[in-house]
């Protein structure tokens, strides 16, 4: 009797997980399917589950609408801001994790609480400043904003990783004739590589997906991919097929990265929460 009850419970659990997974995956599937549909197949009262696939939507957004340039802009902003975030993150996290510095805990706490300021509060005055300096619609403004909003999380993650490294490691490297600089690069750096991967990937993805700052700072010269999505809703109608194709190009590279380096992603997402 107990056996049967246990089995039923286990079957129910499997059913719940399968249903939940379908719900979480379906909109992604639907976007991919829509991106390969002709306009006539996409707008039907009863969904077309099978249809003749076409690349028209991709052709239109890549060759006719200049979306490729926007993806490239997003890539530049993402990569450059992430590299800066990692460098600055190390320079805050490492010294405070390694040495008992007075005020260290307060400064780390302050850096982390910066994440709490709502972005709309920051961008309103900074937009006016950038406008005065002629920086609106430049890569510099995008990169500054993205470094600013990604740095707190990256610092928190890196701080956690550095905290786990015993101080003796660096000391023995110093005894072996390294200076502080070479000790860091030869001994510490390889150990925290997973931390850099986690912090770097999350920082890149958040930059890649960012919309509020990008929407306000974009102009004719510099525009990122999420902002470009707006352009497919024309006064004549909304080009859902092209939006879906653009959505796929924005989402799928990130999804593939997330799946390949899942372990690092989960570690990055949970570390702040689980390790406290």
């Amino acid at each position: 009797m107990g056996m049967i009850k246990k089995n039923i419970g286990s079957i129910l659990q499997h059913i719940v997980i399968i249903v939940a997974t379908i719900i979480f995956i379906f909109p992604i599937y639907w976007m991919v399917a829509t991106s390969f549909k002709k306009q006539t197949d996409a707008f039907t009262i009863i969904p077309q589950w099978s249809f003749t696939a076409t690349l028209d939507n991709y052709r239109a957004i890549l060759f006719d609408s200049g979306f490729l340039q926007l993806l490239f802009n997003s890539l530049i902003v993402g990569v450059v801001s992430t590299v800066i975030v990692l460098i600055l993150g190390i320079t805050i996290a490492y010294p405070f994790a390694r040495y008992k510095l007075s005020g260290g805990k307060q400064i780390i706490t302050w850096v982390i609480t910066l994440r709490i300021i709502p972005p709309i509060v920051t961008i309103l005055p900074l937009y006016l400043l950038f406008a005065n300096l002629g920086l609106v619609d430049t890569f510099l403004a995008f990169i500054l904003m993205h470094v600013f909003f990604n740095l707190p999380l990256a610092t928190l993650l890196l701080y956690g990783f550095f905290k786990d490294i015993p101080g003796e490691l660096e000391e023995s490297a110093l005894v072996d004739g390294c200076n502080r600089f070479t000790a860091f690069f030869r001994v510490i750096f390889p150990i925290i590589r997973p931390g850099l991967v986690s912090a770097g990937l999350l920082s890149f993805i958040f930059s890649w997906n960012e919309f509020l700052f990008a929407n306000i700072l974009s102009g004719p010269n510099v525009k990122t991919a999420p902002v470009g999505l707006n352009e497919f809703s024309t006064p004549v109608g909304i080009l859902w097929g092209q939006i879906a194709a653009a959505g796929v190009l924005i989402v799928i590279p990130v999804a593939i990265i997330a799946i390949i380096v899942q372990r690092h992603m989960i570690r990055g997402l949970t570390m702040g929460a689980v390790k406290g």
């Binding site: 399968i18 805050i92 390694r98 709490i116 900074l126 997906n209």
Partner: protein, 290 residues
Amino acid sequence: MKKRMGPYLVTAPALVFLALMALYPLIFLLKISFQDYSPINFENPYVGFDNYATLLADSSFWNSIKVTAIFVVSAVSIELVLGLALALILNQKIKAGKMFQTLIMLPIFMAPTVVGLMFRFMMNEQYGVINYFAEVLGFDRTAWLSDPTLALPALIITDIWQWTPFMIIILLAGLQGISDEPLEAAQIDGATKWQALRYVTIPMLSQVIIIAVLLRTIDAFRLYDSIFMMTQGGPVNVTSTLSWIVFDKGFRFLDFGYGAAIAVVMLIIVLILLTLFLKRFSLFEESGEK
């Protein structure tokens, strides 16, 4: 002495950068909240507390507080309950559990703009696939996003879809860090499954739950992307959150002084909530002791 200065010098550039990017805007924001400020004005005269007085009498401001509160409380609490339930199941022996976890995780990494647009497409009255399913189940087709009673729930559903996975991943990591012994002891003592969950698992998980709720609340509070893509604050103003009206007053109507006053109030609300939250749960003290 010399040795102690080194670390500070290393951190200085990053900290100065953060301070400039955080403090300058706050001071400037406070300043223009006392001005009739617009980039198209020739001059921006000081008007004292006028903007704040306008704000107190502005029904759209009070409406945005209500909308934000409803959104944050319902989205985050539903995400917590669903996330905890699914995390508890995934923590059992589930066949291909890792694969399910990988698939469930995907929404977290999607651009909220893309998610917003896809849900808008799926919620369309005529060709939206969600309406098709509703019809199959015997409900009427509805224009979710232009219906004043359904637009906010539609945004909440979209948020739940995207961020419940975040709750699952964090709570699952928390569950995996808990030792089995107290749970086994409770079962030996004859506790039911529900009692074991309520009195053993949840208390042991409380720290993780608190941080997950805190992180989600911070993000839900700033909701903007999906509003921009799905409803633009409408119909009328049923989805105008605080972030939205700051954007609307400032960047659309170019009334930056008034937008700044709302932003200042928004920041004060966030700081008060955060202080209350940290006092109640004393997060930093506990983690400091470890």
